[in-house]
């Protein structure tokens, strides 16, 4: 369903001529903020997991370089997102203090910063690691900026479902950095993040429905209402639970991962069910918080199993 007509209610996009003519007040911290460091940390963590559990060996210096390129590429996507979405950010309390809507960084500066980092990170990854990983990183940045930010976000309530793919690519890029290939295991990690994104973001959007409506962003609670959103959250949680356990079911992960995925998946379903039956901000906030813990725990257990497996392998070698 298109909400382009509602888009007319969007605030006027910020332009360079709006920026102060006087010298910039932006500090290094503002440019760091443009890169969305909190999102970057999750990207680095999931990419590191994909990189380490992949079969094969990557020299630690090259592994660090690959992670740096992936982190900077994610930061570039964040900066380009903030450049394009400055009009939306300016009318939402959560984002109004970001560098562009607050006027500390001019839109053109954010665009140039994002483009420089995007091209630099992709070229460096291609030259220093491999072309497949660089291609995946380039695709992720383009997908996040052009497909999600510029197109889907303002057009359809399915924006974060399809756009969530961008956030799901980092473990595949990490895997490709080590193996120069795309393995079924990395696809399973992709699917976990892909199906995790809707319940995670919709739980947050239930808490921000009025702001999204004011900004003209067609999030699901704005378009279909909170009741339908809670139903969709439960459906995606029901899909996520088995997908979350799939690396163990397919034999790519150990028992600790399997148990964590089953318990975590059951809790995601229980919290989603509770949100549907007894709707409240508290229930939405609890699901949102737990979803972060769930994803972090799954990837942390995968890493721990890899680390312990390596220790055992060396001990019995």
């Amino acid at each position: 369903m298109s909400l382009l007509s509602e888009g007319a209610g969007l605030a006027r996009p910020l332009r360079d001529e709006d920026a102060r003519a006087e010298p910039s007040l932006a500090g290094a911290g503002d440019y760091l903020a443009l890169m969305k460091p909190r999102v970057m940390s999750l990207v680095v963590f999931t990419a590191l997991t994909g990189m380490l559990i992949a079969p094969g060996h990557l020299h630690p210096v090259l592994g660090f370089t690959a992670l740096l390129c992936i982190a900077v590429g994610a930061g570039a996507a964040g900066a380009l997102n903030m450049w394009y979405d400055a009009d939306i950010d300016a009318v939402m309390s959560r984002t109004v203090t970001r560098p562009v809507p607050s006027g500390r960084v001019a839109p053109g500066e954010a665009l140039a910063f994002g483009m420089t980092l995007a091209v630099g990170s992709v070229v460096m990854l291609g030259l220093m690691i491999n072309v497949l990983a660089a291609g995946l990183l380039a695709f992720t940045i383009v997908f996040y900026v052009a497909v999600y930010t510029m197109w889907l976000k303002r057009w359809t309530p399915q924006n974060i479902v399809i756009g969530g793919a961008a956030g799901a690519f980092p473990p595949m890029i990490g895997w490709a950095a080590t193996t120069n290939a795309i393995g079924i295991e990395s696809v399973l990690l992709f699917l976990i993040i892909f199906f995790w994104t809707p319940p995670h973001f919709w739980a947050l959007s239930l808490l921000r429905t009025e702001e999204y409506a004011r900004a003209g962003v067609p999030m699901l609670p704005v378009v279909a209402g909170p009741e339908e959103t809670r139903r969709q959250i439960l459906i995606y949680s029901l899909v996520l639970a088995p997908v979350g356990a799939s690396p163990w079911l397919f034999g790519y992960a150990g028992l600790a991962f399997g148990l964590s995925a089953i318990v975590g998946g059951a809790l995601m379903i229980a919290l989603s069910w509770q949100l549907l039956r007894t709707p409240s901000d508290h229930a939405a906030r609890r699901l949102f918080g737990f979803s972060i813990l769930y994803l972090f725990a799954l990837f942390a257990v995968l890493l721990a199993e890899w680390g312990l497996g390596g220790l055992f392998a060396r001990a019995f070698a």
Binding site: E22, S24, A26, G27, A28, L62, T65, L68, M128
Partner: protein
Amino acid sequence: MAEKPNEPGVVLTDEQKRQRRSRSIALALVLGGLVLLIYVVTVVKLGPGVLSRPL
């Protein structure tokens, strides 16, 4: 009206000078880090034969 030669032009406030300094330091650190990274990666990729390559 033509600008008088002795006009000071844009005068930065203390805050603007402080932020410019933070940007300059950050840029210097990033460029220095990039040089170091490319140097180390080159050595790693060329391996132990980095010093004994045929000319």
